[in-house]
């Protein structure tokens, strides 16, 4: 039985809510409402998702044939650089926090808004300002250094628009910092009466951990980009080997942020999975405190492992050993979460609505991505597969098979609350299936390619790799079509979708105790919390209460 069949009769007349409280461009561009700001972000990141996807399409088209015949090698360098920069900084890092986090954290804690609403709006404008710089760079010929900006290529030799792109990323970094700061302060100071830390939904715990990373890590990449920019503009030779500078030092500073950044991308998705898995198996989460502490554990341990990106850089072998051991440790809290979600599913009362399909896909694909991460943490193995397609497959399994599926699962789960409309369930299930098939066809062959030795960032390859590359490109085409479907039917549903009730999935959680869409103030009456989250059955009320 589908959870959607728990639906109460939907209201006919739209009452006043955050969407119709005030019309006109000014009421949106000058809003302080966290829910409207979330939608501003939704529009922006969707644009950048498709821009990054366009670069991916061109990459995969080039790789259909062994010869470098679609674009020149310099152009290819720009394509994979811009794909990485756009997808990482302008889509993945903001995605769930800036859209779903902004929308639902205040509601989940019973607050009227975030702690600093105007700072929240400023975050979006900062994001857009950074985006404009990067778009300018794209339009004027792009950057060819790889999204990693390694020196001395980026500081001394590249002919691309390094400074413009770097400035764009620098500016957008502050958007991330301010969002994280806002979330931490909100969660500490604005919880409803009775809402203790261990009564918080796990989505909130995940975002708290994510925010810690945003606040502690992003400033380091900001100052590193600052150093690259001043080296390029003012000839301050900070990483210049000719002066005794060390390019590996750049890598340390870069990866100090960029490794925790991948946890910024995955932790919010894990928060979504905790919400979806409990709702659609109608069961309390197994081991709530373990999952909550695992989020914090991932955030903390994630800062201690960055050297695993530098095993072959000339870094000391002893540092490599230490980073290798620490990288094994950081897998533990992630594994704890997978075990606990699985135990939650066990003997649950399932419904396979679209959000649940995405959650199940996440659990499987994230596990594969995580396992291959352990291969890479093993220093000896990494020496052979570093800079091959094995690495690319690994991180796409986590970022796309994991984070993006978590994002889509969350969007489908909360769409009724956000828009007041139901999306078409049959078509959504079909799209989820297309995305799952397309994703695996795209990226599984890349594990094999990498293991066989195909290097990354090359626009040409030996002919024996062609069959797997063709499979990968075919998969990418299917995946691309799959992604267009939700965009289309979400837009369709705004006009033609069925009106959604307050709680279509029968979920616990404060955000479902108010109307769909919610009023501007979120709750007619400020809520008081007197029980744990995820209480779905009478027995659980007795044992957990």
């Amino acid at each position: 039985m589908s959870a959607a069949e728990y639906i109460e009769p939907a209201p006919a007349e739209p009452r006043e809510n955050y969407l119709n409280a005030g019309y006109g461009v000014r009421s949106w561009l000058l809003t302080k409402d966290h829910k409207r700001i979330a939608l501003l972000y939704l529009a922006s990141i969707t644009f950048f998702f498709f821009l990054g996807g366009l670069f991916a399409l061109l990459i995969r088209l080039e790789l259909l044939t062994p010869a470098g015949d679609l674009v020149q090698s310099e152009t290819y360098n720009k394509l994979f650089t811009m794909h990485g920069v756009v997808m990482s900084f302008f889509f993945l890092i903001p995605s769930i926090p800036a859209v779903l986090g902004n929308f639902f954290i205040p509601m989940m804690i019973g607050a009227k808004d975030l702690a600093f609403p105007r700072l929240n709006l400023l975050s979006w404008y900062i994001y857009m300002a950074g985006a404009m710089f990067t778009l300018w760079a794209v339009v004027h010929g792009g950057v060819d250094t790889g999204w990693t900006f390694y020196t001395p290529l980026s500081t001394a030799y590249s002919n691309g628009h390094v400074v413009a792109t770097a400035v764009g990323v620098f500016i957008t970094g502050f958007s991330s910092i301010l969002t994280g700061l806002n979330f931490i302060v909100t969660i500490h100071t604005m919880r409803a009466p009775g809402l203790t830390w261990f009564r918080l939904p796990l989505f909130v715990w995940s975002h708290y951990a994510t925010s810690l990373i945003m606040v502690l890590g992003t400033p380091v990449i900001a100052v590193t980009i600052f150093m690259v920019a001043v080296e390029r503009i003012f000839h301050l030779g900070i990483f210049d080997p000719a002066l005794g500078g060390d390019p590996v030092l750049f890598q340390h500073l870069f990866w100090f942020y960029s490794h925790p950044a991948v946890y910024i991308m995955i932790l919010p998705a894990m928060g979504v999975i905790s919400e979806v898995v409990t709702t659609f198996s109608r069961k309390n989460i197994f081991g709530y405190k373990f999952v909550a502490f695992a989020s914090i554990g991932i955030a903390v341990l994630g800062f201690l492992v960055w050297g695993h990106h530098m095993f072959v850089s000339g870094q000391s072998i002893y540092a490599g050993l230490m980073f290798s051991i620490l990288s094994f440790l950081v897998a533990i809290p992630s594994a704890v979460k997978v075990f606990n979600w699985t135990a939650t599913l066990y003997k649950g009362s399932f419904s396979f609505d679209t959000p649940m399909l995405y959650a199940l896909g996440f659990i499987g694909l994230f596990t594969i991505g995580g396992f291959t991460g352990l291969f890479l943490a093993t220093l000896g193995v990494d020496v052979h597969v570093h800079d091959t397609y094995f690495i690319i497959a690994h991180f796409h399994y986590i970022m796309v098979g994991g984070a993006i599926m978590g994002y889509l699962g969350g969007m489908h789960y909360w769409w009724p609350k956000i828009s007041g409309k139901m999306y078409p369930e049959g078509l959504a299930k079909f799209a989820a299936l297309v995305i799952f098939v397309g994703f695996n066809l795209t990226f599984f062959p890349q594990f094999i390619l990498g293991y066989m030795g195909m290097p990354r960032r090359y626009h040409a390859y030996p002919p024996e790799f062609q069959v797997l590359n063709v499979m990968s490109t075919a998969g990418a085409s299917i995946l691309g079509l799959g992604y267009i479907l939700p965009m289309a039917y979400f837009a369709w549903s705004m006009r033609y979708g069925r009106n959604a009730p307050a709680n279509p999935w029968g979920s616990t959680g404060l955000e479902w105790q108010t109307t769909s869409p919610p009023p501007t103030e979120n709750f007619e009456v400020p809520p008081i919390v007197d029980k744990d989250p995820y209480i779905y059955s009478a027995e659980e009320v007795e044992t957990v209460g």
Partner: protein, 106 residues
């Protein structure tokens, strides 16, 4: 959770002036000591004085001494995180020479 703990505590002007005098004295000291040859201890003394001055500014001028536990944890956490960056990065450079480089013998 204590609300606005340090809003209740008002530091006296005398305390501020006392801290100010100590800071000036320590500044003069650090400059003077730098001209004395203490070998590797010059750096240690300079950093120790700098940490001491910074602690005075943080604890008294910035009221950390009377702030909530949360504020104090945030301050210590920030410093600790910077130490992670510095120590782990430095551990690479410090240990690079530890393994012998194998050479082919003719």
């Amino acid at each position: 959770m204590a609300h606005g703990a340090n809003a209740d505590h008002i530091v006296s002007a005398k305390s501020y002036i006392a801290v100010f005098v100590v800071l000036l004295v320590m500044t003069a000291t650090t400059t003077a000591v730098s001209f004395v040859n203490l070998g590797p201890w010059n750096t240690v003394v300079a950093l120790a004085i700098a940490f001491f001055k910074a602690a005075l500014v943080a604890l008294i001028f910035m009221h950390v001494r009377w702030s909530t536990r949360l504020t104090q944890i945030v301050v210590v956490g920030g410093i600790f995180w910077l130490m992670i960056l510095m120590v782990l990065t430095f551990s690479d450079f410090a240990t690079r020479g530890w393994l012998p480089v194998y050479r082919m013998t003719p």
